[in-house]
Subunit: 389 residues, 2 copies
């Protein structure tokens, strides 16, 4: 049997007969009760008790001092970058292997994403390679890292925890320190993932989460900004509520803000989902173990495991093909999808997208290899929860 | 009795004893059933049957050929302005009397809001005064209206239908025609309002709606872009779904897009609310009649009525003080709020906000007079639905 057939069989052995989507939410908790509370109270919009409760509970779960909930992860990243001081004309370091929102949020600030390479061990930004690259291509001027070729200030770095696997955050933090870069963690995919017991998204000056429909926990659409800094948290909350100056009835705004606040209706869903998050995480870990066993006998592939010292939420289970099988990737994607299994390749790399074709970038050999070799497999928590439900 | 006491008494006679908020939604339809359908189907996010249904039903209700639903009215306006061709460095004409989102959306495009005056008859942009102003301060160069003082192209004009009362849209359209300005209608407040039987938001090349928690119809947070142009509608849908190129599993994006799509959960609420909209509109009209009667005996004030030839949704009921009573405005606001009635003044005028202090503007005598004289009164549809419920 060819490799595509072997992959179909292994997936089947784990998730049963299809169709099985790439990722689906599960609503087996108090979602219903909390939505009903919203309707009965008429508080469905951006002011309401679930908004504040969801923030408190997210802060408690992640160990962040503050959480500010917004309409989605993209909005969270946009505001976090603005709070990080990213100015029009700045550059921001972004991994080439990421969802487009990481780069788009930089663009929304009027800044330019500058793409950097990844490492196979974490699938995330490679702080060792980036350090070497910055040493060779930038100058420090008055404490600011300046791109020697473009003359622009490189203001921040946005590590992204790919598919839930933590990036090498300690080395990224050291890099930020040494080159004067604000670290904004894109933890959109890594709710529940930790490094040395500390939650992703809480290492940088700011971190962001996403609760999109395909995430480990969903609010329909939603996201959050994490920070330990009270002034940043207060400013974030101000910016996402149109920068309205608090007053009983008057409407005045003291800076350019955004209509980014999460509605109470969506926060209600989040509160119910958060109660089930530990069970979701257990199930996703169990699913990883099952995939690993099922694929152990398939030559030339491996299931990506959490990096040493880290705990991954295993948001999207990831099959990594040996380079020798990279040419089979599309055949595997076609065969698995035809068999009813929702699989997909990595995102198109950022520097290959039309809007970013002329953005600055370092050599990206690892990101390019990963893009040829990654296949995400059906990853819903409920796939490993049936016995418990 | 002073004027503040008389206002409290008149409001009381219409809405009964407080506390009564400025505007609250009512969920007496199938909200419950539709939210349950979302949970049961697990489709809560940006793909789902209620999203498409809400779009179809909005298009049918407004008579627009297309409706594209998004996370809020601000997002709708941002994308509509981009689709109108607004470029960084352009200017866009915006009424000084509006909610901050009208100006902010211009800023998000990298353009500069240019504030224009209003007329008392509609509370909206005054097309006669603006025509005279443009004639004296701009030049037409190659079909483009150029601000003689700043040298910038004035690309578009954004009439806003204040508190639901239609602006003089025919004259605004003529102005757009004569000065080469794209008309983008901010109909955030005017769902259900018509001019000569045609729905607001369907006159301009693009129009936008809002379904925020305080609007006539709410989805928690939500908005829509209206257009009759198929290519613009297709492009709008593309931009608000991260400009992702359609494909079964691959992720590629061909321009800078946004994460602005309305989640199915919120669209479900919208579908249920839309079924009740005719009843809401009837109730708000009845409430207007009651306020008009109650205030007929109070000297020096009037309840704002729909302009001739128009039908207003009476989103926010508006008390207009004679200039001689303008000095009493804050006392009236204080007394009514103390009595438990949610009242508020007009928004701070745009040119007075810190972020827009240096924006270009025409003389704004009418907007400034209106800002001194306007008080919005409790306006929830349910205040006139009790007998019917």
């Amino acid at each position: 049997m060819g490799i595509a057939g072997q992959v179909v069989e292994a997936v089947w052995s784990v998730v049963g007969p299809g169709p099985v989507a790439l990722h689906e939410p599960r609503f087996a908790g108090r979602e219903w009760d909390y939505l009903r509370e919203c309707l009965d109270s008429t508080y469905v919009s951006s002011v309401g008790p679930f908004v504040e409760r969801f923030e408190r509970e997210l802060a408690a779960f992640t160990g962040s001092r503050y959480a500010v909930v917004v309409v989605n992860g993209t909005a969270a990243l946009h505001v976090a970058l603005r709070l990080a001081g990213v100015q029009p004309g700045d550059e921001v370091l972004v991994p080439a292997l990421t969802f487009v929102a990481t780069a788009a949020a930089v663009t929304y600030c009027g800044a330019v994403p500058h793409f950097v390479d990844c490492e196979e061990r974490t699938l995330g930004l490679d702080p060792v390679a980036v350090r070497e690259y910055l040493r060779n291509t930038t100058d420090m001027r008055e404490g600011r890292c300046v791109n020697r070729r473009t003359g622009r200030v490189i203001r921040a770095i946005v590590p992204m925890h790919t598919f839930g696997h933590p990036v090498d955050i300690d080395r990224v933090m050291a890099l930020g320190e040494d080159f004067g870069l604000v670290v904004v963690e894109d933890a959109a995919e890594s709710l529940g993932s930790t490094v040395g017991g500390r939650h992703t998204g809480t290492f940088g000056a700011l971190g962001t989460l996403s609760f999109n429909g395909n995430k480990t926990l969903t609010t329909g659409g939603g996201g959050a900004i994490l920070t330990d800094d009270e002034a940043l948290a207060r400013h974030a909350r101000h910016l996402v509520t149109t920068a309205k100056v608090p007053h009983g009835w008057a409407y005045s705004h003291d800076e350019i803000g955004y209509n980014y606040r999460l509605p109470n209706l969506n926060a209600a869903l989040g509160c119910a989902q958060l109660e089930q998050l530990p069970a979701f995480l257990d199930a996703k870990r169990l699913l990883f173990e099952r995939y690993r066993r099922a694929f152990a006998a398939v030559p030339g592939v491996q299931i990506v495991a959490e990096p040493a010292g880290c705990r991954s939420n295993y948001w999207l289970q990831t099959l990594l093909l040996d380079e020798s099988l990279a040419a089979e990737r599309d055949a595997i994607l076609t065969r698995t999808n035809e068999a009813g299994f929702g699989t997909r390749p990595a995102w198109e790399l950022m520097h290959r997208l039309t809007p970013y074709a002329s953005s600055p970038k370092m050599p990206l050999p690892v990101a390019e290899a990963l893009a040829r070799r990654v296949i995400n497999l059906p990853s819903s928590a409920w796939l490993a929860m049936d016995e418990a439900s």
